[in-house]
């Protein structure tokens, strides 16, 4: 009963005209960046982070959340029609989606992708509503040791799942922690690594770092190649899947939804992992696995449902524990912090309007996305024809303006350009930026909780293993760290390792 009252309260907030407008802007931009290859939700969210300052916290966070789950919908359009993933979570949709389009079945592929995403998005919201308050009650009992160990686990899981060498990913995570510690020490107020520059006293901003590493670096990488697009030009008809399509897709949608939701909750997990895991699961369960890769609708329905369910699930650790499980949620944490809010166990009780308003807005956003992605599909197809030689300079201009507006400081523009160049060389040398960004956000919290735990336990390191949750997290982290030394686990890691940051 309480849940229903809360949901009603949430809809009261979400249905306010200004919040509806922000929700629409969010899902529209999300679909846009999902459709456009080369720009992902991370770049878009970092670009728009400063704009959240102009409205209420509800409006800003509703918009940011909309960009994230909206991009999951939009990403499939490009994968199916152009065979280029609009964003990383849609990579796997290219395999069967584009084959379907080539066979003249672009309509059912797009339709099933949107409807599967809608079903998964709705399920994950219901689960979020039911699980988050209970988990928040448990999380109140968490002490600094549990928080520290959970953050360590989150970072280790992300490095485990990052493409390429794990040593490189761990090095990136360490650099992220160091960058996060620049500025005044929160306990002793001593300046650290500021090199005498006043601009660094408050630390480096998240916006210039993320925009540099993901926005500018992405453009630099893309300029290296002539981007060729093989857009399906045939008129897209019959978007609604047939009975046979539904019959084939019902199982993959259901399994993808549940799998995606739980993988989304895990620290370090997310939409990308979920879509690949769902594809592998469907192929393994299929009686005719040879159809996969040749236009099987199950290969579109499962992964698309999984990545949307994961997008919903990822809100749980952020909202209940205050720990972002991936880079996108780290940006959302940034949006909370900009408004002086701290997500965590007390958020639901202290700011019920905000929490339930965001949840309700996601329902509304999912309906908006269904409209944007089915009847208006033609508009997005036209957008795919926008030339990149005009788009890339515009992205650079908007990143510069976005960074400047976030702090009114030219220094941040320098920081962004520097991180753009660093990010470009990092990618060329096989160093992924995602662990760096997550560690950059978690670094100060990690340090704070470590020092608090040591002070409270009077220097007893066993405090981390005497508490069951903390011990479990650390044991899992150690297993993942030493796991790649075993050849069988190394092979498995190489199979699931992904480019989270793309």
């Amino acid at each position: 009963m309480d849940v229903l009252l809360n949901v009603a309260h949430g809809f009261g907030v979400a249905l306010q005209p200004i919040n509806l407008l922000y929700c629409f802007i969010g899902v529209f931009i999300g679909t846009l960046v999902g459709v456009l290859p080369g720009i992902g939700p991370i770049s878009a969210m970092s670009l728009l982070l400063p704009i959240t300052l102009s409205g209420t916290p509800e409006s800003g966070i509703i918009m940011m959340a909309g960009i994230y789950y909206g991009s999951m919908y939009g990403g499939s359009t490009t994968s199916i029609l152009v065979n280029i993933p609009g964003e990383a979570a849609s990579v796997v949709t290219c395999i069967d989606g584009h084959q379907m389009a080539k066979q003249g079945r672009a309509g059912p592929a797009l339709g099933m992708s949107a409807l599967g995403s809608f079903i998964a998005g709705t399920f994950s919201l219901i689960a979020l509503m039911l699980i988050a308050p209970s988990l928040a009650n448990v999380a109140i009992a968490f002490g600094p040791a549990e928080y520290f160990s959970l953050m360590v686990l989150g970072l280790v899981v992300l490095t485990f799942l990052t493409q390429g060498s794990m040593a490189k990913a761990l090095l990136m995570a360490c650099i992220g922690i160091v960058l996060g510690l620049i500025g005044l020490d929160s306990i002793t107020a001593m300046p650290r690594l500021t090199f005498g520059r006043l601009e660094l006293i408050d630390g480096i901003g998240l916006v210039p770092v993320v925009m540099g590493l993901f926005g500018v670096a992405e453009v630099l990488i893309n300029t290296e190649q002539v981007i060729k697009r093989d857009v399906i030009n045939a008129k897209i008809t019959q978007l609604l899947p047939s009975k046979a399509d539904w019959k084939a897709s019902a199982g993959p949608v259901a399994r993808g939804t549940v799998l995606g939701f739980f993988l989304g909750i895990l620290p370090g997990g997310g939409a990308v992992i979920s879509s690949f895991a769902s594809y592998a699961l469907e192929k393994r369960l299929s009686k005719t696995p040879e159809r996969f890769g040749k236009g099987a609708i199950e290969g579109v329905a499962g992964p698309e449902s999984a990545n949307n369910a994961a997008a919903g699930g990822a809100f749980i650790p952020l909202m209940t524990l205050g720990i972002p499980p991936n880079v996108v949620m780290a940006l959302l944490l940034g949006a909370f912090v900009i408004h002086g809010l701290q997500p965590g166990p007390l958020l639901i009780t202290q700011n019920p309007g905000l929490f339930w308003g965001i949840v309700a807005s996601m329902y509304i956003g999912n309906v908006m996305l269904l409209v944007l992605n089915l009847p208006l599909i033609g508009m997005w197809v036209q957008l795919l024809k926008l030339p990149y030689n005009i788009l890339f300079p515009l992205i650079i201009l908007f990143t510069i303006i976005g960074v400047y507006c976030s702090s009114n400081n030219v220094f941040d523009v320098y920081v962004m350009i520097a991180f753009g160049v660093i990010g470009y060389f990092m990618r060329k040398l096989g160093y992924e930026p995602a662990p760096l960004v997550l560690a950059f956000v978690l670094g100060p919290m990690l340090e704070n909780n470590l020092r608090k735990s040591l002070i409270l336990s009077q220097g007893d390191l066993f405090t981390f293993v005497q508490r069951p949750i903390s011990a479990a997290c650390l044991v899992l982290a150690v297993v993942l760290l030493i796991g790649p030394l075993l050849p069988s686990l190394r092979r498995k890691r190489e199979l699931v390792a992904l480019d989270e940051g793309a």
């Binding site: 102009s54 060498s165 040593a167 490189k168 761990l170 090095l171 360490c174 650099i175 922690i177 160091v178 510690l181 020490d185 306990i187 002793t188 001593m190 650290r192 690594l193 500018v216 453009v219 630099l220 990488i221 300029t223 290296e224 190649q225 002539v226 030339p387 990149y388 030689n389 005009i390 890339f392 300079p393 515009l394 650079i396 201009l397 908007f398 510069i400 303006i401 400047y404 507006c405 009114n408 030219v410 523009v413 320098y414 350009i417 753009g420 160049v421 470009y424 060329k428 040398l429 096989g430 160093y431 990690l446 340090e447 470590l450 020092r451 040591l454 002070i455 009077q458 220097g459 390191l461």
Partner: protein, 161 residues
């Protein structure tokens, strides 16, 4: 990888250089941690986490170096094989020049040339389209920010904008 694109103990082994840069950064972080004072385990100081993070950085960087020496690694050349490497270099050059010009000349006087350069550098857009896009976009953005959102962009020594 063929013999020419993967090398072991050679100066153009990119993995080796990546590891060496990581090691240098790790040593610097350890030194910074020590300078800031480690404190005790009962009461960790400002440099405590920095110091141990630096130690971890050195360990991971050493692992990369060892792997680069024993298993070899791609050369710098192979990393850019088949890529139009001059394009990102030109974009970086444009951005660096813009960074120097922004404070001195202000947003409008530095953003318009930046846009012209980018539009002509990446995959040249014809002049008749490049000039209007390069002029109108920064002007439009400047107008919206200044008049609608009341955000002042840098106006530089000429106070334009």
């Amino acid at each position: 990888m063929n013999d020419q694109s993967s090398v072991r103990l050679k100066l153009n082994n990119s993995e080796l250089w990546g590891g060496l840069i990581g090691l240098a950064l790790g040593v610097f972080v350890i030194w910074s941690g020590l300078k800031l004072k480690l404190g005790t385990i009962n009461d960790p100081g400002s440099g405590y986490v920095l110091f141990y993070t630096g130690v971890l950085m050195c360990v991971f960087a050493a692992t990369i170096i060892v792997a680069a020496i024993t298993e070899g690694g791609p050369t710098f050349g192979s990393r850019w094989e088949g890529a139009r490497w001059t394009k990102p270099l030109l974009v970086i050059g444009c951005l660096t020049s813009f960074a120097f010009a922004l404070d001195a000349f202000g947003f409008l006087l530095s953003a318009i040339p930046l846009m012209v350069l980018l539009l002509r550098v990446i995959d040249p857009v014809r002049w008749t389209l490049a000039i209007p896009v390069a002029v109108l976009t920064p002007l439009g953005v400047w107008w919206v920010l200044k008049r609608v959102l009341l955000i002042q962009l840098p106006s530089g020594i000429f106070e334009i904008g």
